[in-house]
């Protein structure tokens, strides 16, 4: 915010970044903005098709399975996935925080937990996809009837697998980025560089993945 900038400093007179952020970080923000439009376009096309349908499958009836139990637990598993992702977002902020303090051990510790969280989320998603697949849902196949009992089109499965798949791909690439960051931090690359700004940029990407999940969770499971 503005209080970070002393009044006498003339940001726009040249030689200094008017935004007081590193080039790479600013570009990461702009990349994430463009990615937000990509996800937004996916979710809005889903919404448009849903609005053009007379009825739609009820998520509480579709998403009600939980591993190792036959019980009817609507939304329980996806809530666990949401919790895992929020938790890994917290460990990522803590890694960034330790980076500001130039504490290598702290960065390594929290990044490792973030990677564990990301892998746990991917594992959950793999289980959910497998489960739905064995119930006959896949691209082009939708076994779930509409909420009013009428025959549903395959739109539901197509959008579900495409959008959660695209999100899962982001989680996967986020985990890969975090592993690279972990190895670099471990080897002291950021200490030699004199700053941990790279962790901040990886953190921005990771939080964005969590941010997108908020809306995927909203559009597919809650409403």
């Amino acid at each position: 915010m503005a209080q970070a900038v002393p009044i006498e400093r003339k940001w726009w007179s040249g030689g200094k970044s008017p935004f007081n952020v590193e080039y790479g970080k600013l570009m990461m923000w702009y990349f994430l903005m463009s990615d937000a439009f990509t996800f937004g376009a996916f979710l809005i096309s889903y919404g448009t098709i849903r609005f053009s349908s007379n009825s739609w499958p009820n998520p509480n009836h579709v998403f009600r399975a939980f591993p190792f139990t036959e019980a009817n637990l609507p939304l329980a598993f996806v809530s666990l996935m949401t919790f895992i992702l929020i938790m890994s977002s917290v460990t990522m902020v803590l890694a960034v925080h330790e980076g500001h303090l130039m504490n290598r051990r702290g960065v390594v510790k929290w990044l490792a937990w973030t990677i564990v969280g990301g892998l746990a989320f991917l594992g959950c998603q793999a289980w959910e996809w497998t489960h739905l697949y064995h119930h006959g849902a896949w691209w082009g196949h939708n076994p779930f009837p509409n909420a009013n009992g009428s025959q549903a089109s395959t739109n539901f499965s197509n959008f579900f697998f495409t959008i959660t798949g695209f999100h899962g791909f982001h989680v996967f690439s986020g985990v890969v980025i975090n592993i690279i960051m972990l190895l670099m931090a471990w080897n002291g690359a950021f200490d030699r560089r004199g700053h941990y700004l790279m962790i901040e940029k990886a953190g921005l990407y990771w939080h964005f993945v969590d941010l997108v999940w908020v809306f995927v969770f909203l559009c597919f499971y809650l409403i």
Partner: protein, 148 residues
């Protein structure tokens, strides 16, 4: 400030130690968790009371959407530290995203209009909506989907 200057990349002139403690992070975590639990509870009310009045149904969904936007705000502002950046930088990101207001409104409106038009002019579609789907027993015994 100046002794920091040369150790950081030249673009960063002022290092803002905005997060001196982790208290704010954990506070945000609990906030996100509580909002998620409320959302979940509201989502389940639609399952527990399937014969809820239409207006109430819409209202519950509206509240869930608003709560999700609140979650998004906290993630972006606190976890991504956008709230700590310079206002002009925030605006270069937030202002283009305003396009979503038109984007969502226009497309959902169009979807709705398409539904109404087809119900008016396509008797087949309207008839399909009143027919019950053949019981498929999707709990078990459903043959798996096929990969083409």
């Amino acid at each position: 400030m100046e002794q920091h200057h040369h150790t950081f990349s030249p673009e960063v002139s002022v290092i803002t130690h905005h997060d001196s403690g982790t208290k704010k992070i954990w506070k945000t975590f609990w906030l996100l968790l509580v909002i998620t639990l409320i959302e979940l509870f509201l989502g389940l009310t639609m399952y527990w009371f399937p014969h809820m009045a239409d207006w109430l149904h819409t209202a519950v969904k509206g509240v869930i959407i608003i709560l999700s936007l609140a979650k998004a705000f906290y993630i972006v502002s606190i976890f991504m530290h956008l709230g700590d950046e310079i206002r002009n930088m925030i605006m270069t990101i937030v202002v283009p995203l305003m396009l979503f207001v038109w984007f969502i409104g226009a497309f959902l409106w169009d979807g709705h209009s398409w539904k109404e038009l087809r119900n008016d002019y396509d008797p087949y579609k309207k008839e399909q909506n009143t027919k019950k789907a053949e019981p498929k027993e999707h709990e078990e015994g459903q043959k798996p989907g096929h990969l083409e």
